[in-house]
């Protein structure tokens, strides 16, 4: 690389001698971006194979419109509900004198570790009225509001509280300071959280299946299982289009609303500002927090315990224990493999995004985010289609394909974690290391990777957590004869064997809780530790 740069100068290009581009890094990142494009490309190939006429007849039928109406109205209502609950909870925990705010900060995040389909099982198995649109709104809001809470809390923690003090000193009241300054500071985080909520809703399968609510994803799944590939392909196209619209919408909002960043002067250590006093609202707010935790966390856990107790003797029989351990081992194995793979794949792209500039970097990083718009059911569908058509079924039903599918689906999560971790390894340390006679590769191992270590673990945890609670793609691609916690839970649940399903739900919550805890600790620390 350095030799190349030298000869470039000798040839006397107009721009003169340029800084050497790390060719290996660009190559690796391009390969990853290509891999991430695979599902979309296969979907388009399959669509082209089905023919325009058939696609048109499959898309423009009454079913599509009813699916579209169901999907869109649910997404809209739940996204707004999550935005309100998540933002309000984050503000109360981070900025007010809410009693026990440290405990609440943990309790309100835990529901993220509970799979959506377990939450819906919890409600639906106890109360039959919890189904359809009403049930879906309640269940999904309680299951995914932490996706808004987490980024908003982080942004409020990182935001400069002196801006609020300045606003107050300029004669702006408490409420208007909140709407004009605080919400402004958290705007990007709220938008990002809502984006995640909307994407989750578009991709959700298990919860809606239990609640008997029909969306694109449940219908694609049904069609796929019924071997109507053309129909599932047509619906997938609409679903992907919907997801990409959501992504584009969020990007546009973010682009237009971005205020210029102002350099923060003064010491880097965060000043402790006195929290806002809740005053008379203290008890009502506490009651609301308690209600939120009971509904989002208490009911799923209590329901699982209730069903387990109801069927105590058979549920804890020897055979069930073995299958439980087996399923847990498979879940952990797939989750671990996918976590490592996704983190490794994310590393070159993150390094590129953090350290390089220019059009090529923007294109490569941006292209990998397209995966966000690919619901799990579509990724699984595209991959199984690929093995069917081009590999004559080779690879289909193998653990490798499933792990690969997970790695692609959850790549954006890994990328977020790895990028955050690389931000802890400033480029100036690399430069010092190189001036001390270390080659690029040695610097990568001795400095960059060492400093990024905790963040890499965080990226791994994010993916692991997502795999544990994943159901849709798992059902489609799991090797025959193998069961994970999620699939075993699912088969018992669909057979209405609630007391046998319950232990799997509990173990899933426990397995998912560990990485959630680690994640919470990682993201609560400040981004840069002073060296």
């Amino acid at each position: 690389m350095t030799l190349l740069a030298g000869t470039q100068g000798a040839s006397g290009t107009r721009a003169g001698r340029r800084a050497s581009r790390p060719v290996a890094l660009y190559t690796a990142a391009s390969a990853v971006a290509a891999l991430m494009a695979v599902p979309l490309v296969f979907l388009l190939i399959e669509a082209a194979g089905a023919g325009a006429g058939e696609l048109r007849s499959l898309i423009f039928r009454p079913l599509t419109w009813s699916l579209l109406w169901n999907t869109v109205r649910l997404s809209a209502v739940v996204t707004v509900a999550c935005a309100v609950i998540g933002t309000a909870a984050a503000w109360c925990v981070e900025r007010t004198d809410l009693p026990g705010h440290r405990v609440w900060a943990v309790l309100v995040v835990i529901p993220l570790a509970i799979p959506d389909f377990v939450v819906s099982f919890g409600w639906n198995s106890l109360w039959t009225w919890a189904h359809g649109f009403t049930g879906a709104v309640i269940v999904m809001t309680l299951a995914v509001y932490p996706l808004v809470y987490l980024p908003v809390a982080a942004s409020l923690r990182g935001a400069d509280p002196s801006q609020e003090e300045v606003a107050r000193s300029l004669g702006v009241g408490r409420v208007r300071t909140f709407t004009r300054i605080t919400l402004g500071q958290a705007k990007g985080a709220i938008g990002g959280g809502c984006l995640l909520v909307a994407l989750v809703l578009l991709a959700e399968f298990g919860a809606f299946e239990i609640l008997g609510y029909q969306t694109f994803t449940t219908e694609i799944f049904t069609e796929f299982h019924g071997y109507s590939f053309a129909a599932s392909c047509a619906l997938s196209l609409v679903l992907v289009l919907l997801s990409l619209l959501v992504l584009a919408g969020e990007a546009t909002l973010r682009g237009s609303g971005r205020g210029g960043r102002v350099a923060r002067t003064g010491p880097m250590t965060q000043r402790i500002t006195p929290p806002q006093r809740l005053g008379r609202l203290r008890w009502p707010v506490l009651a609301l927090f308690a209600a939120l935790v009971v509904l989002a966390l208490g009911i799923p856990v209590a329901s699982a315990l209730y069903w387990m107790a109801a069927g105590l003797p058979p549920a804890l029989s020897g055979g069930a224990n073995v299958s439980l351990l087996n399923a847990a081992a498979h879940t952990a194995g797939y989750g671990g493999a996918a976590g490592v793979l996704a983190t490794v794949l994310a590393f070159p792209v993150a390094l590129l995004a953090v350290r390089q500039s220019g059009r090529a970097r923007h294109f490569l990083e941006g292209s990998t985010y397209l995966v966000l718009g690919m619901p799990g059911v579509v990724v699984a569908f595209a991959l199984s289609y690929f093995t069917e058509r081009y590999l004559a079924g080779f690879g289909y039903g193998t653990a490798a394909l499933l792990v690969g599918c997970y790695a692609i689906m959850f790549f954006p999560l890994a990328l977020v974690g790895v990028k955050a971790s690389l931000a802890r390894a400033p480029v100036s340390l690399d430069e010092v290391a190189r001036s001390l006679g270390q080659r690029r590769l040695a610097v990568l191992f001795r400095v960059t990777a060492r400093l990024a270590g905790p963040g890499l673990v965080a990226a791994f945890c994010l993916v692991f957590l997502s795999v544990v609670t994943e159901l849709t793609a798992t059902l489609l691609l799991i090797p025959t004869g193998t069961q994970t916690l999620a699939t075993q839970f699912w088969s018992y649940e669909t057979n209405l064997s609630y007391s046998q399903a319950a232990p799997f739900a509990l173990v899933m919550m426990v397995v998912a809780a560990v990485p959630s805890y680690l994640l919470g600790r990682f993201f609560q620390r400040p981004a840069v530790t002073r060296g």
């Binding site: 003169g16 340029r18 050497s20 010092v432 190189r434 001036s435 001390l436 530790t529």
Partner: protein, 357 residues
């Protein structure tokens, strides 16, 4: 212990030129300070020397080896430069000893070499601590030991004392100077602080308009700057009109001896004379220039007065003059010098001068 030679160096970021045709000679064993305001390209120059950036044109030689030039570029890890960045930039995941030994081959890291280096920078016994357990000054000295460990051809320091408290700065500065002097290290230091440049360096290079305006020992740069603009750039300067006659120059302060180093062509009548504020005293008698105080700033160790000289008729004369007196000496004219007070000023030579444009 190598010399550094830079010729015709160009560097632009996009359409914005930062360095243009910069020439610089750093003699072996010297400590040269690059002095310039922020945004003048000091750090860019240092990064080019280190090899973190590639020059657009021109050459850089370290110890007689071409490290950057047409068809040649040596990556930073092969230049043997000891780089001390602004904040020290210690590796937070390594101990002090781990940091100092970072650039050494693996088997030398545990030897006595690291401890010896720590002793050199006055931190013997600190090897097992972590960077966050050290004060700012200690971190800076570890960064220095880390740079010295690889026995560098030249040490580059980027505003190394800027992040230190004022009282710490002076002592760390003196320590560094002493370490370099003893080891005979060639060092290049960039700073925007003229006091720092003048007090630490053997030679000071003033960076202006993307080039080196003048590179000279501190005393020469201060008392014999290349042009009037540079005189104001380095410290406060009174630039007054004068007429040369023989070895003296006639100014509003009367006849002052001319610095023999000033090269004034015989044909030049009018000259611009440099009188530094501390070359002017307040005197109690009437035999001097009468002036009215316009403002007075007291700093403890010294005091600065802005005064307006009076002409013979008692009206406002020429341009205002800056006067710096040692703390307390102004009491000759009164304990406080409110605006409007009349003082008598006397200038001391020799003074430097340039032919007037």
């Amino acid at each position: 212990m190598r010399h550094v030679t830079v010729t015709g160096l160009d560097k632009a970021f996009g359409a914005h030129p930062v360095l243009a045709g910069l020439d610089l000679e750093v003699p072996a064993g010297s400590l040269t300070a690059i002095l310039g305001p922020s945004g003048s390209g000091k750090t860019t120059l240092l990064r080019l020397l280190a090899g973190f950036e590639h020059a657009d044109a021109g050459t850089i030689g370290i110890g007689g080896i071409l490290v950057d030039g047409p068809g040649a570029y040596l990556p930073p890890e092969r230049r043997r430069i000891g780089y001390v960045p602004q904040e020290g930039s210690l590796f937070p995941h390594l101990t002090v000893a781990g940091n100092v030994g970072f650039g050494l081959p693996a088997r030398q890291r545990r030897g006595g070499q690291v401890e010896a280096l720590l002793e050199t920078v006055g931190l013997a016994g600190f090897g097992r601590r972590y960077p966050h357990q050290l004060s700012g000054g200690q971190q800076q000295r570890v960064a220095l030991a880390r740079a010295l460990a690889i026995e560098p051809a030249v040490v580059l320091l980027d505003e190394p004392f800027a992040s230190l408290d004022a009282h710490l700065r002076a002592s760390v500065r003196a320590d560094v100077q002493e370490i370099f002097r003893r080891a005979g290290t060639t060092a290049v230091l960039v700073t925007h602080d003229q006091d720092e440049a003048l007090s630490v360096a053997d030679r000071v290079a003033a960076l202006r308009d993307g080039g080196i305006a003048q590179c000279a020992p501190p005393e020469d740069l201060y008392s014999r700057p290349a042009d009037p603009g540079l005189a104001s750039f380095i410290g406060d300067a009174n630039l007054v009109d004068g007429v040369v006659s023989g070895s003296t120059v006639k100014t509003l302060f009367g006849c002052l001896p001319l610095d023999p180093a000033a090269t004034i062509p015989a044909s030049a009548g009018q000259v611009t004379v440099l009188i530094r504020p501390e070359q002017i005293d307040i005197v109690p008698n009437e035999n001097g220039l009468t002036a009215q105080v316009t403002s007075f700033r007291y700093y403890g160790h010294d005091a600065v007065l802005y005064v307006q000289p009076e002409d013979e008729a008692g009206g406002a004369g020429s341009q205002p003059v800056v006067v710096r007196v040692a703390g307390g000496t102004h009491r000759a004219a009164g304990p406080h010098l409110p605006a409007g007070t009349t003082v008598t000023l006397l200038a001391r030579g020799p003074v430097f001068a340039w032919p007037a444009d």
